[in-house]
C-alpha cells in the first residue's frame, strides 16, 4: 500500500513539475507575449540535456553535483508529509510542520552551496545574497505555520487539515496565505524574492551552470514549487477536503491554484535591491507576521 502511495506521490510530483514549467511559459500571454504549448517545457529540457556541462576553474565538484540533488530531495521530503486524502499521508509525521520547516532551512543552505561551488564571483554573490534574505524569511514562515497549527492544537498536517472541516484557515487567518506566499517565492527562487539570481548577476548561482546541471536545478526549483503549493493548499485551503470529488483530486486542484498564484506573483512584482528588501523583511514583514500569530492565537483561544 505504502509503495503504491509513494509511486503515486512521485508521479504527481513529476506531473506538477511539468505543470509548473508550463505555467511559467503560459504567463507571457498576460503581458501580450506568446503563450507556449504544453510540449514547450519538454523541448526546453531536451535543449539543456543535449548540451555539455561547462567546467569552471577549481570548482567544489562534490557540492556542485550535490546541490541540485539536495534541493530535489528536500522538495520530495517536504511533499511527503502533506495529506493526500483525509487521514492519509506518505509520512504520518506527528510533527509535519517541523519537518517542512527543516526542509525550508536546509533549502537556504542548498542554494548557498549551489552558488559557492562553481568558484566564480556572480554565483557567490547570489549565494550570499540569498542566505541574507533567506534567514529573515524563515521567521515569518515559522510564525505563519504555528498560527495555522493553533486551531488544530497539533503540529501534524493531518490534524491541521482535519481542523478545517468547518472553515478553511484562509478564512480564519486571512493574512496567512499571503505571508506564506512570500516564503514560497523565496524557496522557489522567484520574482521579487529571487535573490539567488537576477539579471544584475547574470543569473546568480546558476550563472556558470549549463547542460544537465542546469536542467536538474530547474527541475528541483519546480519540485519545490509543487511541494510548497501542496503544503500551502493543505494548511490554508483544507487540502483534500471538499465535496463530490475524491480527496486527492481536491488537493491537486488546490495545489495547481497556489502554483499559478506563485508563478503570477513572481512575474508581476518587481524585485528591489537586496539591502532594501532586507529592510522590508525585518522592519515590516516580521512584525506583521508576529501580529498575525498574536491575533490568530487570540482567535483560537
Amino acid at each position: 500500500m505504502s509503495v503504491l502511495l509513494a509511486a503515486g506521490v512521485l508521479v504527481a510530483l513529476a506531473l506538477g513539475i511539468w505543470l509548473g514549467a508550463w505555467f511559467d511559459r503560459l504567463a507571457p500571454a498576460l503581458e501580450g507575449g506568446r503563450a507556449a504549448g504544453p510540449m514547450a517545457p519538454l523541448r526546453d529540457w531536451a535543449a539543456l540535456l543535449i548540451r555539455d556541462q561547462a567546467e569552471t576553474e577549481a570548482p567544489d565538484r562534490m557540492n556542485r553535483l550535490l546541490a541540485p540533488a539536495w534541493y530535489l530531495a528536500l522538495a520530495a521530503i517536504g511533499l511527503s508529509v502533506v495529506p493526500v486524502a483525509e487521514g492519509l499521508a506518505l509520512w504520518h509525521s506527528p510533527v509535519g510542520i517541523v519537518v517542512w520547516g527543516s526542509c525550508e532551512a536546509l533549502i537556504v543552505i542548498t542554494v548557498f552551496l549551489h552558488g559557492w561551488s562553481p568558484n566564480a564571483p556572480f554565483p557567490l554573490i547570489g549565494a550570499y545574497r540569498y542566505a541574507a534574505i533567506g534567514l529573515p524569511v524563515m521567521l515569518p514562515s515559522m510564525f505563519v505555520l504555528i498560527a495555522a497549527a493553533l486551531p488544530a492544537e497539533s503540529l501534524s498536517l493531518i490534524a491541521i487539515v482535519d481542523s478545517q472541516r468547518d472553515s478553511w484557515n484562509l478564512v480564519r487567518q486571512p493574512l496567512g496565505l499571503p505571508l506564506f506566499l512570500v516564503v514560497g517565492l523565496t524557496l522557489t527562487l522567484r520574482g521579487p524574492l529571487d535573490f539567488a539570481g537576477g539579471v544584475d548577476i547574470a543569473g546568480g548561482t546558476s550563472a556558470e551552470e549549463s547542460g544537465a546541471g542546469l536542467f536538474l536545478w530547474q527541475v528541483a526549483r519546480l519540485a519545490t514549487l509543487v511541494a510548497f503549493s501542496a503544503l500551502a493548499a493543505a494548511v490554508f485551503l483544507g487540502g483534500p477536503l471538499g465535496p463530490l470529488l475524491p480527496g486527492p483530486v481536491w488537493l491537486a486542484l488546490k495545489t495547481a491554484l497556489v502554483m499559478a498564484l506563485t508563478v503570477l506573483a513572481g512575474r508581476l512584482i518587481a524585485r528591489t535591491t537586496p539591502s532594501r528588501m532586507l529592510h522590508v523583511l525585518w522592519v515590516w514583514l516580521l512584525p506583521l507576521s508576529f501580529a498575525h500569530l498574536a491575533v490568530s492565537g487570540m482567535v483560537a483561544l
Binding site: G32, Q53, A202, S206, P274
Partner: protein
Amino acid sequence: MSWLRTLAAGAAAPIYPSIGAGMLAEVEQLFASAPGLRRAASPRDAALLLVAGDIPAEARPALDRLHDQLPHPRRTLAWKAGEPSTQISARLNEAWRDLAHGAPSEPDRLPDEPPNPWRGIGPHGQGGKGMMGGTPRGRPMAMTGADIRDGLELDRYTARVGPFAPMLPPGLTLELTLQGDVIVEAHVLSLPFPQPEEADLPALCAARMLRLLGLEGAADRMTRGHAPRAAWIRGAVPAGLGAWPGAGDARDRLDAWLSGRQEGGAPRDPARALPGLEWHEATLLLASFAPGTLRRALAEAQDLQEIPA
C-alpha cells in the same frame, strides 16, 4: 537519442548577444518580438553567440573569451547593420536546429589554460606570507581592507566586468574592487559603444531598468510599445539612488521614461558615484541614464582626468 534531439530542435534557440556599436536597440527589439528566440541569462546558458554590429579591435580578445564560455555544441552568427531582423531571426532558428541535430560545434578560440603562470609557493600557490597575498594565476589574492561604509575589515577582490556583460551597457568595461557585492573602487577601462538615438527612446530605457528589477515580461511588453503590467515598479528603485543636481534620482528618471518622456539632466562623472554602492544599485544607477547620455558623461570624465591640472 534522436528523439531527444528532435525534441530539442523544437525549443526556443538559446542565444547570448554580444552587442557592438549601433545595434543595441535592434537586438532588444529582436528578443522582445521575434518568435523562437530566447535571450540567455549568461553565456553558459546559450548555444548561439550573436555578434551584432561591429566589434572594435580592442574588444576582440573579450569576444574570444566570451565565445569559449559557451558550452558545446555552439555556433557564432554575425548580424551586420542592414540585415532585417526577420532574416537574422530565421538564420538563428536554423542554426539552432542544425546544432540540435548534431551539427559540429566550434572549437575554442583561445588556449584552455590559465592566463598567467602559477607563480606561487605553497600547496595552493598562494605565494605571499602564510595563507595571504601572492598572485596565483596572475590574480591577486583577496586581502582584507576596511569596509567603505562601517570600517569592518573584510576581504577585497578585484574583478573586471564587461564589455559584453548583460547588466551593463554594451562596450562598458569596469574594473571593480569589491567587498562582497559592495563596490570599493571602480575604474572605467572602456566606454560604452556608440549607439544610434533610437537606443535612447524612453520605452527602451525603461525596459532596461525593468529587466534589472526582475520584470522580464514587463520589459518585453515595454519594448513592444505597451505600458508594463507589474506592481511596485517605482517603489523597487531606492529613493535617492543616483541623484544629481538637475537630473533627479533614478526613480524620477524611470518615472519619466514610463510616461514616455525623455529624461533631461546628465550626470557628472558617474563612475565616481559607484564606490559605496552595492552591485545591484550600481547597475540600476548606470541603467537610469540613456546610453547616449551615459557615454557622453563617462567620456567627459575621462577627458578631465587625462588633462593635467
